[in-house]
Symmetry: C2
Subunit: 256 residues, 2 copies
DNA sequence: CGCATATTTGAAATAGTTCAAGTTGAGTGG
DNA sequence: CCACTCAACTTGAACTATTTCAAATATGCG
């Protein structure tokens, strides 16, 4: 299922480093601690497999874990299937980001990971990565850093989904995407949403109808222009403003 | 701030292993791959500092990161401070669990970590842990496992907070606590909630009033008995049943 | 004992969901 | 190039769980 080694080949991490200049993958191989020679070593264990077509799955829940992946192009979504058949979108993965870090702990993939468009990834066999990490202190450090950052990001997401209005959630999401696209050298104000409104709503904890209505409200307010999945942020400043406001008064937080 | 090395002393991990028989800390030092000699090595880098009093902070947001911690007794809560002063409770840490894993990535603590009652922790200097990890493959593996599990748990929490009713959230929380207490050899049906209703509600994404009302509803239904922070689960089966139900119909999830 | 903080309770307000009915849009085959 | 189809998306209106506001009780602690 798109995971077979067939067609896998060595890839040049150096090129990836150039391509995505500030992403997890870069963080994994580029940091000060990792020189050219080290990167070559990492390069040797990384495999590229054939691209996934839209809708194709990188892995299914329960599948045994053997490797983590880095997105080269396209977009993935990972989602957790509920006991009762509903699914919860956990994350969207853009180029340069590492995927399946949540599978290390249990030895099997907890989430389903699916391509939202034609997507190519490279496969990093975990056992080899572990061995290499012991040889390269810089790599070990970076791996821990990336995982820690993942935990932190999750915390932030929780904060977003937990106590914010629909407008704030969408604003935060748009800004987040803007930054992620921007880091890759693409426009921060005009981009194409790789995911459906349904997935987006699911991710943000909103009904698809609410997502749609919130988009429209933003358009009416002149904050953005929307044509299908194409989005243009017209007033980044105002969007930022929205996220700053308290979602709910909340009598929490007292003493410091 | 309770983090100074003063009074730190060697502790016997072997004793901790006995004390908390199925927790993160145990996972960190007990797994098959780690023998007695290895554990001794780990033991040498772990420090114990004086207990934190209720309300005392283990760390504040922004504080430079130098070590992770393991809870020995008591309870900690970590929370993220919003731009606007509100705080979002991210996690509660019971004995045996590792704390501050989200700080590795940025080099400074993103969350405030505070004692909910008198709590003792041991400090594990991160740089030494990293060095030791390279020597002990089993330790490295376990560290990654624990972090991965943290990511996974976060995903689950997100699922809880995102799309479930107040009753389901509370039921899930009570069952979760029940299991965590149970693993430590305590009663699975009678325990003391270490946190306030306010913190609990905040964690679950509910107003404190809603939390209170939901408790009352459960009591009325005969699912539990509550006396202040003391809780007795009377019908664990029914609670489980609540969590299974679909929180919201949701037209998501189609093709498999 | 008495203040300060937590918790509970009731009633009103509301954001968001649900349901139901369009509308759009992309792919397909004639 | 035009129907035709299926799914994604949008829109409106009614509904409801949860929040908010206000105020009464507990509870803890000095």
């Amino acid at each position: 299922m798109g995971e077979s080694g067939s067609g896998s080949q060595l890839i040049r991490l150096h090129e990836i480093r150039k391509a995505c200049s500030a992403c997890s993958l870069r963080e994994l191989c580029l940091p000060v601690a990792l020189d050219r020679k080290d990167t070559d070593e990492l390069d040797r264990i990384v495999e590229r497999s054939r691209p996934l077509r839209k809708g194709e799955k990188l892995c299914r829940p329960g599948q045994p874990f053997s490797a983590i992946y880095a997105v080269l192009s396209g977009c993935l979504k990972s989602s957790l299937l509920g006991h009762d058949g509903e699914s919860q979108v956990i994350a969207f993965h853009l180029p340069g980001e590492l995927v399946a870090l949540d599978a290390i702990g249990s030895g099997s993939h907890p989430t389903a990971i699916e391509a939202l468009e034609t997507t190519s990834v490279c496969r990093i066999p975990f056992s080899q990565l572990e061995i290499l990490s012991r040889k390269l202190p810089g790599l070990q450090h970076q791996l821990l850093r990336v995982m820690s950052k993942e935990i932190f990001d999750e915390h932030k997401l929780l904060q977003v989904v937990s106590r914010r209005t629909a407008e704030q959630r969408l604003a935060i999401m748009l800004i987040n995407l803007s930054q992620r696209f921007g880091r890759r050298g693409l426009s921060r104000t005009r981009f194409r949403l790789p995911m459906s409104r349904l997935d987006l709503g699911n991710y943000l904890g909103l009904a698809p109808e609410t997502t749609s209505r919130t988009f429209r409200r933003f358009v009416d307010q002149g904050l953005l222009k929307v044509t299908g999945k194409e989005v243009e942020l017209l007033d980044l400043h105002a969007l930022h403003g929205l996220t700053e406001e308290a979602g709910l008064p909340s009598r929490h937080a007292r003493r410091c």
